[in-house]
Amino acid sequence: MLATSSTFEANARAGLANPILQRALALMQSGFPERRRLAVERLPEFEALRDIGKSIKDHTLKHLDFYLELFEANVIASGGQVHWASTADEARAAVLQICRSVDAKVVTKGKSMIAEEIGLNGYLEQNGITPVETDLGEYIIQLRHEPPSHLIAPAIHLMKEQVADTFRAQHRSLEPARSLAEARQLCDEARAVLRPQFLAADVGITGANFLVAETGSSIIVTNEGNGDLTQTLPRVHIVMTSLEKLVPTLEDAATLLRLLARSATGQEFSAYTTMSTGPRRAGDLDGPEQYHVVLLDNGRSALLGGEFQDMLRCIRCSACMNHCPVYAAVGGHAYGWVYSGPMGAVLTPSLIGIAEAGHLPNASTFCGRCESVCPVKIPLPKMMRYWRERQFAEKLNPPVYRAALSLWAWMARRPILYHAIVELFSRALGWAGRDRARFRTLPLANGWTAVRDMPAPEGRSFHSLWSEQQKDRTGK
């Protein structure tokens, strides 16, 4: 997917100025966080499970080569095939080759962020194959030619009127005067329009929330049932996934599944949690004839053993962005690529480079709410800070900013000078603001005073007052 992360500031401004997006974001804020809170309250073991989930992932990552080999062996033993793709190019080529081998015309897709990452849809279309998104949110944005704006709810930036407009414009064979005023009607229409596509598809592509090494299985966690129809009806099932989705055993998967739905939507368990292992068995009346797992690296193995390894624990629940005040202000598109919110701020620079994605780890107050809700305890602010350290080391910050920082640090290490200057400023600004006690404008502080007043200092610094007080106590 083409990135626009470098224009984050403009993207963010557009998001802030978009009244429909702002309404949609307000809806999100009143939904997900409260539901998660209730679900967590209902499970006394939730906090303990977070620690266990973290340690399962850490253990797996530390031995990822072993577990990948075990996974592959079990996929093959159950009749499937594994394709190892170091790069996006290799992954796309693998998918195309599989599609061509069965002369595929139509491919249905369950939601896959990996597929977004490698730009699969556009590539298939260029090669004469029609991809059809079947997750309702993904379907809507496919019709609108928009990228997803959220990890699990790709169309969360839209209100129902926009969906209705899109359906009316795109489903041209349906009765133009039909009512699409309610979400119910929109869902029914999507169901009816997509059902024939499910049945016509030659290949079905799903993502994977987890891969289980013990059995060579892939697990998808959905609510709509589209992922299951996608992987059951066509002749070929392709699982598009990445290295770090692996867990060792079914029991490990159960633990993480207990964390996932609660953290994502506040559900106890998703409507459909499906484990698939290989193609149809002898005697099965349905199911795909071929099962392929495309394992994508695309920069993930490079994160192992380094400062960003913890990011590979991510189970793609979206709790971080659901609780992020920056995401809630600007929406997912502002981040400019596949992954948004706090997890996007950490992951995106490692996948597309800090030069392109530099704004993302900087557009954070480090409020820490993301880390506090992450089911696998990823220290997101800490890793955003690591990115800032790399930028600083590579001198990627604006020169004025670096100069101001250097000056501040230089002064802070010279207490006598520092105190004199602070006293000078507090007197000068205190005097300048003596009538109103606040400034509507202040030189060099336009970023602040454009939208808020600056309270004036009290007129003396604490240290100067304290010294005087101490002298008064002891001197006289």
Binding site: M159, N223, G225, N226, D228, Y272, S276, L285
Partner: protein, 233 residues
Amino acid sequence: MSEGREQILAGIRRALKRGRLDAARETALRERVAAHRRNLVPARATALDDAGRIDLFVAMAEEVQATVARVASPAAVPEEVARYLAAENLPADLVLAPDPSLDDFPWDTRPLLRIRRGRAEAGDAVSLTPCFAAIGETGTLMLVSGPGTPKTLNFLPDTHMVVVNIRQVVATYEDGWDRLRSAGAMPRAVNFITGPSRTGDIEQRIELGAHGPRRLHIILVDDRQKAGDGEDE
């Protein structure tokens, strides 16, 4: 593609600053997998007795808009099916899983039910399947694919009915995994189904019946003896 494989594995080992794990370490990891120890399991379902677990299953399933009908014996299943279809104003056509566990219900007591055995096809409105287990913890049905249990029955029709015997109700997913392992090789698909299909993709408003079934009806066969049923699963 094996080039990609070697590249990726080498990249992983390079990043972790080691070579391939030694034999002792690999053995230990294999043992860890073979032991598949349970991690912390919530007490919600495990702390209950049989009756409590069954009640929990029903309560949790109903919470997510599955409907549950308790019948006292397998013989009452066809009657419940007919009753439900009439109550929901659905035609009396259904496709039944070809699984032998559904053979012995007295379908001939309900001759107006038009039954087909097999997988689901486009246009099927109602299906009836057995289940492999029922998880009390979250009111979740565990269904596995096989010659008698084609997966399309769980997803294509608008209405999905599932027959559950109380002896199939277990506490946790881990209990389900244990049963699955003792049943033999992994099936192609294991479905954990918790309520009917739904979406919140439009303005966060939950609508049922996105692509999968709009209705999930659970027929719970509770043929416990009145007192002292010593059966313990």
